[in-house]
């Protein structure tokens, strides 16, 4: 499965005073252009796998796609790196206006969604789901065991949708956001749901990651890495339980810690 997102390369390995050429593994990077209702919406640089999931996940995360039934046509050209998505009722003019709005409030580069914060209302999560610390640790252990591309190349991030006991969808990508969007896109397209969804990520949690999570109604966000203060504030305000630095037997709970039941044991 990892074959198509990893290549091998001749590399000069230097170790102290010694040097020699080796064959090394390297992650592939390739552009994906999303054509939304006939207009070029965005080009993402990503791992060239599951482009349909990434395109759909991106549209869902940006609030441009709300229900699976809205997709009228989904065409994926893996070779050229193009995904076309047409929605019921979508028209060229509408998209142009949307994309222009996006541009002037957030634009290109890295991290998009000030637009999403302002323009598309997001509801506070009220789910009463809870999880035991031991379940968090087990999920993170299983998650890391599946990070095979990272183990080979050190060049990707990973994300997963889980319930309390197992991983339901998992992706690795050169982009921290892309990995999450591939997971969300697959779940959206293939109706992968659970009453108690959790999102796991290998990457740092910035405000946009909390917004993506909230938009999909996911109440618990778990990261191997650090959050930012803005991510924590948003998680507090939006009712998201934010767990970071899950490493060994330890973790930090940054927001809505009542969902991490320190008295609960698995099976309760």
């Amino acid at each position: 499965m990892t074959a198509s997102i990893v290549d091998t390369l001749r590399v000069l390995r230097i170790n102290g005073d010694a040097s020699h050429y080796i064959e090394d593994s390297i992650v592939k990077e390739s552009p994906l252009t999303i054509i939304f209702n006939g207009e070029e919406l965005v080009t993402l640089l990503c791992s060239p796998q599951h482009l349909n999931y990434l395109a759909i996940g991106y549209l869902v995360s940006e609030g441009l796609l709300k229900q699976k039934g809205d997709i009228k046509r989904l065409l994926t050209d893996d070779r050229r790196g193009v995904v076309r998505v047409d929605t019921a009722g979508g028209s060229q003019g509408e998209t142009a206006e949307l994309t222009f709005k996006r541009l002037i409030t957030s634009g290109c580069g890295r991290g998009s969604s000030v637009y999403s914060m302002g323009e598309v209302p997001i509801s506070r999560i009220t789910s009463s789901v809870s999880i035991a610390p031991s379940q968090v640790l087990t999920l993170m252990k299983n998650f890391q065991q599946r990070c095979t591309t990272f183990k080979i190349t050190g060049g990707v991030h990973a994300a997963a949708l889980c319930d309390k006991n197992e991983i339901l969808a998992f992706h690795e990508d050169i982009g921290r956001h892309n990995a999450i969007d591939k997971v969300l896109g697959q779940c959206f397209l293939e109706d992968i749901t659970t009453a108690e969804p959790l999102l796991l990520t290998s990457g740092r949690v910035s405000s946009e990651v909390v917004l993506k999570t909230t938009r999909r109604g996911i109440s618990i966000l778990i990261s191997k890495s650090a959050p930012t203060d803005l991510a924590v504030k948003l998680a507090q305000d939006l009712g998201i339980t934010l767990v970071g630095f899950v490493r060994g037997q330890r973790m930090n709970v940054y927001a809505n810690e009542w969902r991490v039941n320190t008295n609960e044991r698995p099976g309760d």
Copy 2:
């Protein structure tokens, strides 16, 4: 210096069966809006420090600003997170056209510069500078010693402009690209130059990082982390020496390895 990009927060620390509240350090995240020739160009999510460097570095990296003399006005509002840059001869209409062009070829999200690849010509680097492996290791050691915010929070990336012997400009930021743009922006604004410039980064090297480096005429790019295959191909084509995974006594040279002189010793 790190005080303004780090805050403290009450966090529930769980360790095995024990749990207690601690005061923990966390990186701040805040939006920077760049107004270029009177129009809103982009909003970046970043560490709230040196916003002027980030704005200028972003414009330079995107090819929108070529020479320091082109800057007619530079106004920074740190509190509101806004930097206004006006250039000689810049007009509203021109910016609107530029930003629209950017949008339709690359757009928002993460990773911008397919536009930059296509629209703004980049020259191949022909510099004959070379460096000894021991110098690379010493620079990386000094670089990591300066990553104080990372040591406290685990939540930032770092970048530096160096010559073969020392670090000339250094920044940490929650964004991998932002850290590089702050370094490039400071060097641009403050005329920090050297005949043999090297760029160090803590982060993964994707194609955009190689393009930024090339645009500034930097011939050697050194990372603690992994590159992608597209970054390596671009580095090969553009004449950039790309060194990755500099850890302990080891490193991998992915492109134009002739600049890493395995026979040269410091002082030669």
